[in-house]
């Protein structure tokens, strides 16, 4: 196991703890308003200070990270599933079905993702559920296209023919040879997309089209903090750092997993 992978796993583990065990760690209720301590800096009582309504920033950040990461996990999982089904059906059935499905996918690929998401959020109204839908809607097509490509490449590899020649049936070759070769690039791609989707959610929330206040969300928090930029910089510095942290940890994990799964690179690491 390379150092990058170890780092990535540790970072992700910490992140998972923040996301899933967050309510246990958080010292305050993230919605609890206490105007007597508004816009305070770092102190023992509030280790990351408080915001303009006197809410504990540390507690809010823990919940906010949970919101952003959970939405992006849902978006990635859902679009990966839809993409996987469409892509593999297209590649395995081939012919007219393939042609038809690929044209549908082309239509979806043709939409500019950001503008389309903004449009959906605008029409359906800004909420966490709506931007989840909008992001799934605009991102599944690229998974489908990638899965189809991988399956088609894998299908014509000589060792598939060779295994058929030696008695493997169709199901066996699909399960043992084709799907594993799809799984690796697909999961690398998905990890990479988690970070990307997270940036989208944060960005949309920042411009007010995503998660709505008072629900804690990193982008929305930065948006709220912009009026106090000069007087209370901790309000945007901490969420900003947290965004970088999440994106960085998913990226490093994705990168090192790719190397880890490649037996060629792995043997070099062992040496």
């Amino acid at each position: 196991m390379g150092n990058n992978l170890k780092t990535g796993l540790v970072l992700i583990f910490v992140l998972a703890a923040i996301v899933f065990a967050g309510p246990l760690i958080a010292p305050y209720d993230p919605f609890e308003v206490d105007m007597s301590v508004r816009l305070q800096g770092i102190s023992l009582a509030h280790i990351m200070g408080t915001d303009q309504l006197g809410r504990d920033l540390f507690s809010r950040l823990i919940y906010a990270t949970g919101t952003s990461v959970k939405i992006s996990l849902v978006v990635v999982a859902a679009s990966m599933t839809i993409g996987f089904i469409f892509g593999s059906v297209a590649a395995f059935l081939g012919g007219a079905v393939d042609e038809f499905l690929m044209r549908i996918i082309d239509v979806f690929m043709a939409f500019p993702t950001k503008i389309f998401t903004i449009a959906i959020a605008g029409v359906l109204g800004a909420s966490a559920f709506n931007i989840t839908l909008a992001l799934i809607f605009t991102s599944w097509a690229s998974y489908a296209r990638m899965v189809r490509g991988c399956v088609l490449t894998a299908k014509q590899l000589p060792f598939i023919d060779a295994s058929v020649a030696l008695g493997a049936n169709r199901r066996y070759t699909i399960v043992k040879h084709v799907l594993p070769s799809v799984f690796q690039p697909l999961s690398t791609f998905a990890f990479q997309r988690i970070a990307h989707t997270m940036m989208m959610i944060v960005g949309l929330s920042f411009i007010g089209l995503g998660v709505q206040p008072p629900t804690p969300e990193l982008g929305a928090m930065i948006n709220e903090s912009k009026n106090f930029m000069t007087t209370a910089p901790h309000l945007f510095v901490f969420p900003g750092l947290l965004i970088s942290y999440v994106v960085f940890s998913f990226n490093i994990l994705d990168d090192s997993l790719r190397d880890y799964w490649d037996p060629r690179i792995k043997s070099e690491l062992v040496l």
Partner: protein, 315 residues
């Protein structure tokens, strides 16, 4: 002594339908394989050798049209539907290919691949399959500690050994070897051939070998079939063949081997999209007569020998 027949191929016609016309790659080919022998098909590239071999296990692409009858142990396998036919692959007829590297899954450990092949054909526990795989590794003379190696960690010769171990996982009666040594260097070639010979005797296997290397043919073959442009030109026992090849094409092939630096057969293999009115070898044949242009030669058979030429009668 009467030889038992393992595989009988009769009137095998194969053509590929393409958007620019049909390609005839096998024209009324007949041959039989006796149990326990090695039959080599030789010929230049593009003569249809591999296609004939692949057609026996139905591994050709979908645009291939195959006609004719193939009998395996007296049982017509060419009539079986695809599902039943799949049971023959691996268990009865196994195939090894020219490029071992690309024919083994690069991301699966080699031992696993041998074991998986065994498990795919016979239902058994994983443990038992692993024992079998280790036994096969030993038989192909790979150390047992290579069980967990990935294909890229092995040399070409070792990869071909793995390929052989996978092919032999289910003790097939017929092994089709499609140029098994072409991608290897000469000393490794020799080792692989020796290994095949040894395993053949151990398991009483029959080998159908596709090659264009006359040296390999001389070492391995019991009988030889010479193919040219989709036609089986000559079939003969090895000794008789090397003593006196009858077909002009076979003679030319041997001339090339005798003088490898300078001699080539003039001309090239014809495009198989042509429909030959006469003998397909006629344009390159030094012994061709006027008759060869207009009449298609038929098989003339005498004892164990078959020749498809108007000017030669086997004796």
């Amino acid at each position: 002594m009467k030889k038992e027949k393992l595989l009988e191929v009769e009137q095998l016609n194969i053509k590929f339908t393409t958007s620019i016309g049909d390609v005839n790659v096998s024209d009324n080919i007949n041959f039989t394989l006796n149990k326990g022998e090695t039959f080599c098909i030789v010929g230049e590239s593009g003569c249809g050798k591999s296609v004939v071999a692949l057609s026996l296990t139905r591994l050709l692409p979908e645009n291939a049209v195959i006609n004719g009858s193939v009998k395996f142990e007296g049982f017509t396998i060419s009539d079986l539907d695809d599902k039943e036919f799949a049971k023959i692959r691996g268990q009865k007829i196994a195939t090894i290919f020219e490029q071992p590297m690309s024919c083994i899954n690069p991301v699966m450990r080699i031992g696993e691949q041998i074991a998986e092949t065994y498990r795919a054909n016979f239902k058994c526990s994983k443990k038992e399959a692993k024992l079998q795989a280790l036994k096969k590794l030993e038989e192909v003379k790979l150390p047992a500690n290579r069980y967990n190696a990935y294909p890229h960690e092995l040399s070409g010769g070792m990869q071909q050994r793995v390929m052989i171990a996978i092919a032999l996982a289910c003790n097939p009666q017929l092994l089709i070897a499609d140029e098994p040594t072409t991608s290897l260097d000469v000393t490794v070639q020799y080792q692989i051939l020796e290994l095949l010979q040894e395993l053949k005797e151990k398991y009483h296997m029959t080998i159908l070998m596709i090659t264009h290397d006359m040296g390999v043919v001389h070492d391995m073959a019991d009988r030889i079939g010479v193919m040219y442009a989709g036609n089986m030109m000559e079939i003969a026992e090895r000794d008789a063949f090397f003593k006196q090849p009858l077909h002009p094409y076979a003679q030319e092939l041997l001339n090339v081997v005798k003088d490898p630096c300078h001699y080539t057969i003039p001309g090239t293999v014809p495009n198989l999209m042509e429909i030959f009115s006469g003998c397909p070898f006629e344009p390159r044949c030094q012994k061709a007569t006027e008759m060869c242009k207009t009449y298609k030669p038929e098989n003339s058979v005498r004892d164990e020998r078959m020749v498809r030429c108007l000017n030669v009668i086997p004796n």
